[in-house]
């Protein structure tokens, strides 16, 4: 029996919105619990406050100016670090990168996680002794590092640890003073646009390099697995080789050099959970290291790197997935022949090592020539190859900055939290739609952050008094 369209549309978006929501919820809970209203949290001296350390007595102009300077410096440092990482990646210092990133993740989970846990233990008066706590913490951090970087673990565990890392870094960022936080967010959003879309942007160059080499981008990236369980009827006989060939990490249609954004992040799907284990080990690199942020020397803050490298949203989905179908319908094409359904399309691009169309023909399904035509029609010169089943990916830095915004909103009141949450999710949805329409790597920060900031200030200044006044008079609408 045919399934309804309503049951499958939108699955990928929800699978990205859910972990973002969970991360934001955890940060709001932490902030709400550990930051009692009215208390003055001593700001931590960090790289982000090298230039200006905010004191409550400064005038508004001074705070704005200081915050602005802090933001600029922060963005500059982040940009330099991204270039350094790009250089390391370019010269193939993979071992160095891997060790560094594993160490950073361990420090985030152990140090920041430990600090947060200690605060929680103090708050709830949990009876636990130091030795147990130490053992648990070290185990927790080690499993986290292994789950995220080195081993193939159940996907829920990896995703869970990524969300926890994002939450810890975001919670740490909320300890910055208020004006610095806002200017930082806005500067990062502006930088993100530049880094991803401008030709000399470091993230764009990194993406291009990773694509030409067909390696994982060295960053912490949250990947939402495909939603629908793929029941492949089995590959057609002529393409039986496809299951043994290593699927490409990135697939192109067309020549590599100028088709920077002809990318698909996708792997063959029914074997997808295991197939990328090799590639995972060799080149899955990520970085987050909160400890640098606590140094008083000008060592670069590592945590935002994850945000930068990951602050672009790249995706590809299967033919039945929302984004591909969205983009093709928006482009107004004729419906594809009904023979092409989701069971055969992924085979088009599975297992191809080189990019020639001939290889695709070798895969043997007779849908291919037509698919190629359709795909070529659907492509502009920067087209996405959207025929491969894959998953939406969102960089961990996006998690961090969304949660920072919501955490800072939580320090005022819960009403701002709800408003900012809706704004961020709306911005994320808009970004995903743009992703489907423009079919290129999109920066995930700008729309959400700008909407979030606008909604925060509107809510705080206008809506809060309005609603509270109505409610205390018991007048509703």
């Amino acid at each position: 029996m045919e399934k309804a369209i309503l049951e499958s549309v939108g699955g990928e978006i929800v699978s990205i919105v859910t972990p973002v929501s969970i991360c934001m919820l955890l940060v709001v809970l932490l902030v709400h619990t550990l930051t009692p209203h009215g208390s003055v949290v001593a700001p931590i001296a960090t790289v982000a406050m090298m230039v200006y350390s905010e004191k409550p007595n400064d005038s508004l102009f001074e705070k704005l100016r200081g915050g602005f300077l802090n933001g600029i410096i922060f963005v500059c440092i982040v940009m330099i670090v991204t270039f350094v990482l790009f250089g390391l990646f370019y010269f193939r210092f993979t071992k160095c990168l891997r060790v560094y990133m594993g160490f950073s993740a361990f420090m985030v989970l152990a140090w920041m996680g430990g600090t947060v846990m200690v605060e929680l233990i103090q708050f709830f008066s949990i009876p636990i002794d130091v030795i147990t706590f130490g053992i648990c913490l070290v185990n927790f951090a080690s499993v986290g590092v292994i789950a995220v970087f080195f081993c193939q673990m159940p996907i829920v565990l990896t995703q869970g640890y990524l969300v926890v890392i994002g939450m810890l870094v975001a919670f740490w960022f909320t300890k910055l003073p208020e004006w610095t936080t806002w200017t930082l967010l806005i500067s990062m959003a502006v930088y993100d646009i530049m880094a991803v879309l401008a030709p000399v942007g470091p993230l764009k160059m990194l993406l291009e390099l990773a694509m030409t080499r067909d390696e994982e981008i060295p960053a912490l990236i949250y990947e939402a697995r495909p939603v629908l369980p793929r029941q492949m009827p089995g590959p057609p006989p002529t393409s039986s080789s496809s299951t043994t060939v290593q699927p490409r990490r990135w697939s192109h249609l067309g020549a590599a050099p100028h088709s920077l954004l002809n990318i698909t992040i996708g792997r063959g799907n029914s074997a997808g959970l295991n197939v990328d284990s090799d590639n995972f080990q060799t080149s899955n690199l990520g970085t987050v290291g909160g400890h640098e942020l606590m140094n008083f020397v000008t060592e670069p803050p590592v945590a935002p790197e994850a945000g930068l490298l990951g602050s672009r949203l790249v995706s590809s989905t299967e033919d039945a997935g929302t984004l591909n179908s969205v983009s093709s319908v928006l482009a107004g094409h004729q419906p594809i022949d009904p023979n092409v359904d989701e069971d055969t399309v992924p085979l088009v691009n599975r297992g191809t090592r080189n990019m020639a169309a001939v290889d695709r023909m070798e895969l043997g399904t007779q849908m291919q020539p037509r698919d190629l035509d359709e795909d070529e029609l659907e492509r502009n010169d920067e087209g996405f190859e959207l025929g491969v089943s894959g998953a939406l990916k969102l960089g961990l830095g996006d998690f961090v900055f969304y949660s920072v915004l919501v955490g800072r909103a939580a320090m005022y009141d819960l009403m701002t939290v709800y408003a900012c949450y809706l704004a961020i999710v709306g911005g994320l949805g808009a970004t995903l739609i743009l992703l489907a329409v423009w079919r290129r790597a999109m920066p995930a920060l700008p729309i959400s952050i700008s909407l979030g900031v606008v909604f925060y200030f509107l809510t705080r200044l206008i809506m809060d008094p309005f609603v509270v006044d109505l409610a205390t008079h018991l007048v509703f609408f």
Partner: protein, 255 residues
């Protein structure tokens, strides 16, 4: 009034929404996105109303009357705009369904989308008018408003939010049906009912008025629910002809 009280108030305001969400909406990702989208539209209309009236509040009591009328007018205008947006999305979904060779939208689908949209409005109302006020309710004390010494503020807010949640949810169902079928009476019913419910909360301004105000709001919600129920029953009940046209059919006998 401690954690139990706070959770209790939250459940009063949002319990039915939660159960509606879990049973109808959670299994379909598109409906989850619809809820979020319509919640955001309601929030935008609320901010617009706030921008308009912020200068007058806190002010004299008579301000509330024109305030309510304009705010309800804004929300109904947003509802009409949302309907036009929905038509485009429905068209898009049908094209998508053809493309991936699935069935087009049937009546139950459309009703579910309407419920999801209404629920988005209702949840946004409950969250902003009740949940965001509940933070003090988790503490050790409670708060009574001058004009209502019978019930704490939180209880009144919770019940009223419940009423409005149901009202918003089901008036969206009525509105979708009326605008699709172009039925004048139902098209007028929705804004009139909304305005009535809003104006009836003005009763709460009178001393001791909340004794009457809260049940009146809940009654408006029940009336809306009844009308919506009748519409849905007519559409899918046994009296409406060929059942096959409304349910999922086998691909061989696709309509």
């Amino acid at each position: 009034m401690t954690g139990a009280g706070g959770i209790g108030y939250a459940l009063i305001a949002l319990g039915p929404a939660f159960s509606l969400f879990v049973t109808v909406i959670a299994s379909k990702p598109f409906l989850i996105l619809t809820v979020l989208g319509s919640a955001m539209m309601w929030l935008v209309s609320l901010i617009a109303s706030g921008l308009l009236w912020r200068a007058f509040l806190p002010g004299a009591v008579w301000v509330f009357l024109p305030l309510l009328i304009t705010v309800v007018a804004i929300q109904e205008a947003v509802r009409i705009y949302y309907w036009h947006l929905y038509l485009k999305i429905e068209d898009f979904l049908n094209k998508l369904a053809t493309k991936v060779s699935k069935q087009q939208l049937v009546a139950t689908d459309k009703i579910q989308i309407a419920i999801a949209s209404g629920l988005g409005h209702g949840i946004a109302h409950s969250v902003f008018f009740c949940l965001s006020l509940l933070t003090p309710a988790f503490g050790p004390a409670t708060y009574y408003v001058d004009s209502c010494v019978h019930m704490p503020l939180f209880l009144v807010a919770a019940f009223t939010a419940l009423g409005f949640l149901l009202l918003h949810t089901f008036s969206m169902v009525i509105a979708f049906n009326a605008l699709a079928g172009d039925k004048r009476s139902h098209q007028l019913f929705v804004p009139v009912m909304h305005l009535c419910a809003a104006l009836l909360t003005l009763v709460n301004l009178l001393p001791g008025g909340c004794i009457a105000g809260v049940p009146l709001t809940l009654m408006c919600a029940v009336v809306t629910m009844a009308v919506a129920g009748k519409i849905v029953w007519d559409k899918t009940g046994s009296g409406s002809g060929d059942l096959n046209s409304l349910h999922r059919v086998h691909s061989a006998s696709r309509l």
